[in-house]
């Protein structure tokens, strides 16, 4: 077109607020709000508990307790982004956990005996496969038979809880395989200080490398670049969080008795004054971290993720653009199920037992985590990192209240109120933005 009338500049382009500046450096202001809320909660509980909350021991346990919900929240983000909901995750966790327990404790030992080195791997693969299958099944009902997800998964909530009981007629199965137990954390599930530092350094290198790679690519295309200070600040914040977490995990010492056994098992002698041996990062936390990174990659860098968000924004548009919306929807539920499988392993291993009540009410915590983390129930909006932070906020509230001795009924009341207020504040913020 040769002749074009200049369009009047829109008011948004002229007015420059703080959030515009933040957007320019591509930093989500809501993420800052979440981190600030977390800081307030942590500092508040630390003050109320006379410094016990921010101890290495408490934080280490807090992260371990968050892992299971955080893993499932990653999947729930995608489910909610497509304008759906999954109410069955808690029951599915119970069912998958029971089946894994049964196979691991009663079936596999009959095949290759107790404590076989492959038992834990078979268990994990089975859990992911079974969870994925259950999810795909529910997804097929939702996508191809057009039954509302609320109904399908409400049915699933009852069906899978019942099925969990059915597996062993309500019996609890224990104990778990010793190579499986580290998935739940505990002393066996901590990787020690050296490995923790190695992972921490690798993560820092990855953060800086990715930032540099993206910047070089944008430069080659001649796009506007973030200011260098912002780039460095963001990378530094990321690396700082990683290093702080590693230092925290390493500051939490193994109990003397266990440390002593460990030293003596390696043929060493236990020194007179005791020895400081670090826990290091916990396996379930690393699993959750890996899931979070993989899911972020899937959501941001793969076609599948792009389709999930497009469907959430406008299902009809996605379909008219040639996206197979039904298949994508079914796969989203399948993915949710596979993540439930991972969480089932984490919680079964942590409990060192499979019980049919495992995962009770988890669906509500998972949904709450995703929503507090900025996932919009209207669909189309949400981030994996936000949901994981949301899970951490929820768990911080609960752990903190336990620590300062709040009565159990009051804990639920507080969590419920916080959820409602968080969503209200998010709505207010969103309205001001648009």
């Amino acid at each position: 077109m040769t002749e074009v009338t200049p369009a009047p500049a829109s008011p948004a382009q002229e007015r420059r607020s703080l959030s515009d500046h933040l957007r320019e450096i591509e930093f989500d202001p809501r993420m800052i709000g979440m981190v600030a809320a977390l800081a307030v909660i942590w500092l508040g509980f630390n003050w109320l508990s006379d410094g016990a909350f921010l101890s290495a021991r408490n934080l280490w346990n807090l992260l371990v307790q968050t892992a299971s919900i955080a893993v499932m929240a990653c999947g729930m983000v995608l489910v909610i982004v497509t304008r759906n909901i999954d109410l069955s995750v808690g029951s599915m966790l119970g069912f998958v956990g029971m089946v894994v327990g049964l196979v691991q404790v009663r079936l596999l030992p009959g095949v290759w005996g107790f404590e076989h080195p492959a038992t834990w791997l078979v268990s994990l693969a089975l859990a992911i496969g079974l969870g994925g299958l259950v999810g795909l099944m529910q997804g097929a009902l939702i996508a191809y038979l057009a039954i509302p997800s609320f109904i399908v998964t409400l049915g699933g909530l009852l069906v899978w809880r019942g099925a969990a009981w059915w597996v062993t007629q309500g019996q609890t199965i224990a104990p778990m395989d010793s190579r499986f137990r580290p998935l739940g954390g505990g002393v066996d599930g901590a990787i020690g200080s050296t490995a923790s530092w190695a992972i921490g350094v690798a993560l820092c290198i990855a953060i800086c490398g990715a930032a540099a790679l993206i910047r070089r690519r944008r430069k080659r295309f001649g796009f506007v670049l973030r200011p260098l200070w912002a780039e460095i600040l963001i990378a530094a914040l990321g690396c700082g969080a990683v290093i702080a977490t590693v230092m925290m995990a390493n500051a939490y010492a193994l109990p003397a008795g266990i440390a002593r056994r460990l030293v003596e098992a390696k043929g060493g002698t236990w020194p007179e004054g005791g020895l400081f041996i670090s826990h290091g990062l916990a396996v379930p936390v690393l699993v959750a971290l890996a899931v979070g990174i993989a899911m972020t990659f899937l959501a941001k860098r793969l076609r599948f993720g792009r389709y999930v968000f497009a469907i959430g924004g406008n299902p009809e548009a996605a379909q008219l653009s040639g996206v197979n919306t039904r298949k994508v929807l079914m796969l989203v539920f399948g993915l949710m199920g596979a993540l439930v499988g991972i969480s089932a392993c984490i919680s079964t291993a942590r409990l060192n037992a499979a019980t049919n009540s495992a995962g009770m009410l988890d669906e509500l915590y998972v949904i709450a985590a995703a929503v507090i983390g900025g996932t919009s129930l209207a669909g189309g909006v949400g981030t994996i990192a936000g949901a994981m932070l949301g899970a951490l906020v929820m768990q911080s509230l609960q752990s903190g209240m336990v620590l300062i001795g709040v009565d159990a009924p009051l804990q639920n009341i507080v969590v419920g109120i916080v959820l409602v207020v968080a969503v209200w504040l998010d709505g207010v913020y969103r309205k001001r933005l648009s």
Partner: protein, 273 residues
């Protein structure tokens, strides 16, 4: 009721040769109601055909069959003289048929590049989304359509009506369309933006792209279309060269189904008129 012979329609062609698109005897019913009933239309390369009719006349439905959104109950679609099976939007795009929907069909929560390449993303060698390339291509094509457009990073929800329209048009023309369907392309636009769309249509016409233009606005259609096809109650009333008919005559076709002498009557024409 007789069905218009394709030969009759060809008489009104501006030139000779194989039509780019030919829809023959298309019918579709929703719950017993025949939304389109034995409709035949065609389109030559570099031609603009205006499709007119009241709301519910069946023009949008007919066009959605061509773009793959609906499947016809009966009838055939020919692209360059060869029968084309169009069962999905993907099939239509494979045949070079692109559509700008009245609703624009944009995913509001993602940016312009994600919308333009939705379903046809550019990938890196690793199989991941190549956002940098897509943004770069988006800058090029948007630069042609709307040189003042700067908001590449924002979700299209934040854009003005005209900017959103530009994104929808960019998505249709970026992939070298042979035939373009524009469903009420100027309904949401101001006068300046409407003129821009008109200029774009003329420019695309010069490149040999055939365009179906669906509109309520008789003036628009008379200014831009080479031929006009009028539909009423799911049937084609008639087809005429724009130069051979007056606006009053076309209005008569739309309102009463009366086919003027210069037009080739279709199955929906008023009998004995």
């Amino acid at each position: 009721m007789s069905i218009a012979e394709p030969a009759d329609i060809r008489d009104t062609h501006p030139g000779q040769g194989t039509p780019l698109i030919e829809m023959r005897d298309i019918s579709i019913a929703f719950g017993g109601i025949k939304a389109v009933d034995g409709a035949s239309i065609d389109l030559m390369p570099g031609e603009v055909v205006g499709l007119l009719g009241h709301n519910g006349a069946g023009k949008s439905t007919l066009i959605k069959i061509l773009s793959g959104a609906y499947r016809a109950d009966s009838g055939t679609i020919l692209v360059n003289g060869e029968e084309a099976a169009i069962a999905s939007p993907r099939d239509a795009k494979r045949h070079g048929i692109e559509t700008i929907y009245q609703t624009l069909a944009l995913a509001d929560n993602v940016d312009a590049a994600a919308n333009i390449f939705l379903g046809r993303e550019l990938l890196t060698g690793w199989g991941t989304l190549d956002d940098a390339s897509m943004e770069s291509e988006t800058r090029k094509v948007m630069g042609r359509l709307n040189p003042h457009f700067r908001r590449f990073k924002e979700p299209v929800k934040a854009l003005s009506g005209g900017q959103r329209q530009s994104v929808a048009i960019a998505r249709a023309i970026y992939f070298n369309a042979r035939a373009l369907i524009m469903d009420e392309p100027t309904a949401a636009l101001g006068p300046a933006e409407t003129r821009q769309v008109a200029e774009l249509i003329l420019q695309l016409k010069k490149q040999g792209i055939g365009i179906f233009l669906i509109s309520h606005d008789l003036h628009d259609v008379f200014d831009l279309a080479d031929r006009i096809t009028v539909m009423k109650n799911g049937r084609v009333v008639g087809t005429a060269r724009t130069a051979d008919v007056t606006q009053d005559e076309v209005l008569g076709m739309i309102i009463s189904g009366k086919c003027p002498p210069a037009a080739v009557a279709g199955p929906g024409a008023l009998r004995g008129a």
